[in-house]
């Protein structure tokens, strides 16, 4: 596929013969996902990088206009597949905001917990893979092994390991059982040990630090101009965190700190993510201790939630409600309104611009994908670096191609 290189006005035309053009990807082990970079090189120095994306474009937003609000949760799962529950929390956060549903306190806590588990899972992969790309294989194995425990929790709570599809309009699919909370307890015991191991392996690892420090520097002004958010913006000194600054769900009940750095290089981003995992564990600990009892879904009289099996087969109202929700052209009414709602995703602001037209099928489900917004920083950050720095910068941006291309 031909890709036009942008003209560099400061580079003389006759000198361009000495420049190499190198294709990086779309299938390259160090990109981890399906994306392509067209690099213009002088020796090993990158003069210009042009990302070419869209290899995984599968029309998720078009699908969102043809699936109902509950069905679409299975599709949002597949956007950032490293942390699916966070996508679900973000999606139903937008849906419930538009429908003006106040979910139960227990459900809020459960959603906070699955969201924080997803954040830890995402950061473990991101920090682990950053180490892997720079040659520190052991740290990656520690991190990846721990993610299995998170998958076990997903499996225990929903029955699915990878894409739980756990949230529903007005609640969640199943309530947390003691086995789920028991698994989270166990996970919270294991996590600090693994983080300590990774710390021992990486924090004083000279090769790792030399390849991260001062590489891919993003200034605070650039972070704001390029719409960066999440850990990437926080590593550059933009101390904005939606959990603190615009508290949603039950985040105002918890004590936690927002880690940030001012250097803005890959090393700062790595450290911010490592510290965020510690803070997420703090939130999980408090949420487990304070988990309220009571119903997990809003009452079925509100016409929104899917009744559980016992209610469906044991009561008239449950049966009617189930019938209403599963039959096409029935179900609840939505307002003819539009709303933007965002949550703090693992890699930044994860928002939905949701437009409803009165039916259960959304009119427009625009996603604000953090990976897409962050990847346009890449040419800016990689300029005048060496080829070997690509993996460090790409790893620190945490690009997930399924979310990038949707």
């Amino acid at each position: 596929m031909p890709v036009n290189l942008l003209d560099e006005p400061d580079i003389q035309a006759e000198n361009r013969d000495y420049h190499w053009t190198l294709n990086f990807g779309p299938q390259h082990p160090a990109t981890h996902t399906t994306l392509r970079l067209v690099l213009e090189l002088e020796g090993e120095t990158i003069l210009n990088a042009i990302p070419d994306i869209g290899y995984l474009h599968s029309g998720f937003e078009k699908l969102g206009e043809h699936l109902n609000l509950n069905q679409y949760v299975t599709v949002v799962d597949r956007k950032n597949y490293i942390s699916p529950p966070m996508n679900e929390v973000a999606w139903h956060n937008a849906v419930e905001k538009l429908l003006e549903i106040e979910i139960t306190p227990r459900c809020k806590y459960i959603r906070v917990m699955i969201g924080e588990l997803a954040r830890i899972s995402d950061h473990l992969l991101c920090t682990g893979a950053a180490a892997l790309d720079l040659g520190a294989f052991t740290a990656f194995l520690f991190a990846f092994n721990l993610r299995e425990m998170i998958y076990d929790i997903y499996e225990e709570m929903s029955g699915y390991r990878f894409h739980p599809g756990y949230t529903r309009t007005g609640g969640v699919m199943f309530d947390f059982t003691e086995r789920v909370t028991g698994r989270i307890e166990k996970f919270l015991v294991t996590l600090p040990k693994i983080l300590a191991d990774m710390e021992k392996l990486l924090f004083r690892n000279k090769i790792f630090i030399e390849r991260m420090r001062g590489v891919g520097v993003l200034s605070k002004a650039d972070a704001m101009a390029y719409c960066a958010s999440g850990p990437i913006a926080r590593a550059s000194g933009v101390t904005y965190d939606l959990r603190k600054d615009e508290p949603y769900l039950a985040y105002s009940d918890f004590e936690f700190d927002v880690p940030y750095a001012t250097e803005g290089d890959c090393y700062a981003r790595f450290h911010v993510r490592m510290e965020e995992m510690v803070q997420s564990a703090r939130i999980l600990r408090q949420a487990l201790d304070k988990l309220p009892s009571g119903p997990v879904n809003v009452p079925i009289a509100d016409k929104f939630p899917m009744p559980d099996k016992g209610t469906t087969y044991g009561s008239m109202e449950g049966l009617i409600q189930h019938f209403e929700l599963v039959m096409p052209n029935r179900g609840f009414q939505t307002p003819k309104k539009e709303v933007y709602a965002a949550v703090e995703g693992p890699s930044g602001e994860l928002g939905y611009y949701l437009i409803c037209d009165g039916t259960q099928v959304a009119w427009r489900t625009r996603t604000r994908p953090p990976a897409f917004v962050h990847f346009q920083l890449f040419p800016h950050m990689i300029k005048n670096h060496m080829i070997s720095d690509i993996v460090a910068v790409l790893g620190s941006l945490n690009i997930i191609a399924a979310e990038l291309d949707r």
Partner: protein, 177 residues
């Protein structure tokens, strides 16, 4: 049921200040829950965005489009497409949504790349999906769909399924590639 607050609604004071600074008739206001939307004509968009950035500290966080073709209860006089720009003030946590409408024969809006560099790819995506042209954009190419693609897939008159697009592509075999 009570309304859930996920972000603070913009205080009236800020809105009044914006009104005072820009003058009457530049934008019209509508709101739903905590979302405050300013409808701006394309000709005033860059001016308003620059004022909001320089004097009110707002920064772009989200940009996307929507096609309202056949939206129930929509007056025929309103624009077919609308582009939304979600702005955020990092210091006060205020959010503001700019909306600008365009219609079919000439769906053109000025680009916001000179104001916020991050608008670049998001405008490219809106162009790719809806065919809205952002005038002055430094690099307005398709971003998700292939370059030789002819249609705009998120328009409402583009079907979800059916035969078609695959057959428009030239078939390349291993021998002639």
């Amino acid at each position: 049921m009570t309304t859930k607050q996920t972000s603070k609604p913009l205080p009236d004071a800020t809105l009044a200040r914006i009104r005072k600074r820009c003058g009457e008739g530049v934008f019209s206001v509508s709101s739903h829950l905590d979302n405050l939307r300013l409808y701006v004509p394309g000709s005033k968009l860059v001016e308003l965005a620059t004022i909001l950035r320089d004097e009110f500290g707002f920064h772009l966080t989200e940009l996307g489009g929507a096609d309202y073709l056949g939206y129930p209860g929509r007056s025929p006089a309103s624009h077919r497409f609308e582009v939304h720009y979600v702005l955020l003030n990092y210091d006060t946590a205020e959010r503001l949504i700019l909306k600008s409408g365009v219609s079919d024969p000439d769906p053109t809006l000025p680009t916001l790349v000179p104001v916020w560099l991050g608008a670049g790819w998001m405008e490219r995506e809106v162009f790719d999906m809806y065919g809205i042209v952002f005038q002055g954009h430094p690099d307005l190419r398709r971003i998700l769909m292939p370059e030789e693609f002819q249609s705009f897939p998120l328009r409402k008159d583009y079907p979800l399924r059916g035969r078609g697009e695959r057959h428009n592509f030239e078939r390349v075999t291993r021998e002639d590639s």
